[in-house]
Point group: C2
Chain length 271, copies 2
């Protein structure tokens, strides 16, 4: 690896943020499968002096159920360490007195239990997966176009992700669809929003230049982290594709085969 | 109406192109319903010295079945007078030796009977309506992203249209979704493509400045026609919305309540 910049940098870093799907595990049937070496890599990080947080745009399950799944896959992880868009969205809705029409996966609905959803004055979409039916998308569209000033929130803006049976379209694609239909620009909650990354840094008590983000999504993980002043490292697992290494606008500070290699590299620099 | 420019213009025009859905009829259950006065308006145009063609982005049925529906609604219309995107797409595919993966409404499939669809090297989407399921959109995405150079054709780029039970998302919205997912720009076949309008003018044997286009879609009918040098008139039926009258980039040459009013106005100028 010609990654001397970030390996030098790794020596002085104080914290690591890990993306989850495609870095820790591949989703799919049932709980999905842990990516080889990732369970051990998380253990090594936890045994080190580095601060560790997990940052996901996962919006198919509540954080509780999501973390329980990761634990079943063998990961040492707790709810308090995980940052995901739905709780951030609930905070925004509360602060601005908004009542959402929700187009999200059934498993995410509990996160919004406390939110008034009557007479909606905005639309919130997450990775609704199979709930992104023609009928449901039409329904969300009609709510939006019926508002005097259409207001759309998107929980992430990912293009696609990899499940064990292949690539799947992500929420960003449906965000673009509704943006075009209604001539609006969505407010993105989750990666790569700078506000979202900053909330993780605040929780770690670290400055952005002290933290490395490791993800499989070049634009949303690596690029988003870089725009906040972090270093961004891409793994060649999950949704990684060779063309990422010649992307027109985003260049990772480091490229590694998988999380295990990234962690070994970071920790070996610190000995 | 302060539409003196186009009413003066109407005096010297030699031909009229009519959009269909939202101008002649509203689609919906069964055959939909004729818009009051439109059947008579078409009769009057046919009895005049003006050349008349119909130009639609309708892609839910073959032209034969589509025209049969209009005839049942009372319209004097024949297949040869109707221009729609599917036959234009077939011509493009043939010319360029392309084999499409089709994401179109079942009723449109007969238009592509003669096209080789094995081992696809491009994707063609039409207004697939309920066939725009999560599964089918994923499938089209996987074909596209698997191509060395993703090639996407969209039969129109409309945002939405009105059926008797409400507004429905149109093909353009799904085009934007796939464009974003695969970092490509679709080739649009149908309105507002200049090539498509030109094929209608060629068939009429008229120059663009001799023809008026009447439609309910400000951007695709009116704006598209204007970019070809025609006058564009919008009807306040179909997908018309009051905000169209203060659109930031497209201003219709004339606004009328419906087709009947447009035709009376054009013909009264000619007496």
């Amino acid at each position: 690896m010609a990654d001397s910049v970030w390996s030098n940098y790794a020596r002085s870093s104080k914290g690591v943020i890990l993306d989850m799907c495609g870095v820790l595990y591949d989703s799919g049937e049932g709980d999905g499968v842990a990516i080889p070496g990732s369970v051990e890599a998380v253990k090594k990080l936890k045994a080190s002096d580095l601060k560790l947080r997990f940052c996901t745009n996962e919006t198919q399950a509540s954080r509780e159920k999501f973390v329980a799944k990761l634990q079943r896959l063998g990961f040492d992880i707790s709810v308090a360490e995980v940052f995901s868009p739905a709780p951030a969205a609930v905070a925004v809705l509360r602060k601005r007195g908004l009542r959402p029409h929700l187009l999200v996966y059934d498993g995410l609905l509990p996160e919004f239990d406390s939110v008034d959803k009557s007479d909606p004055n905005c639309v919130v979409i997450g990775d609704a997966a199979k709930k992104f039916s023609y009928e449901n998308l039409n329904e969300a569209f009609r709510v939006l176009i019926g508002l005097e000033k259409p207001l759309l929130f998107s929980l992430g803006k990912g293009k696609y992700y990899k499940e064990t049976d292949g690539l799947k379209l992500d929420v960003g694609v449906y965000m673009k669809a509704l943006e075009y239909a209604c001539d609006v620009e969505a407010e993105v909650i989750g990666k790569p929003s700078a506000q979202f990354f900053q909330s993780v840094l605040d929780d770690m008590g670290l400055q952005s230049h002290e933290v490395v983000m490791i993800g499989d999504d070049l634009v949303n993980d690596v690029g988003g982290a870089q725009q906040c002043g972090m270093k961004g490292v891409q793994v060649r697992t999950g949704k990684y594709r060779p063309r990422d290494e010649s992307h027109p606008t985003v260049t990772a500070d480091g490229m590694v085969d998988n999380l295990a290699q990234a962690v070994d590299m970071i920790l070996s620099q610190r000995r």
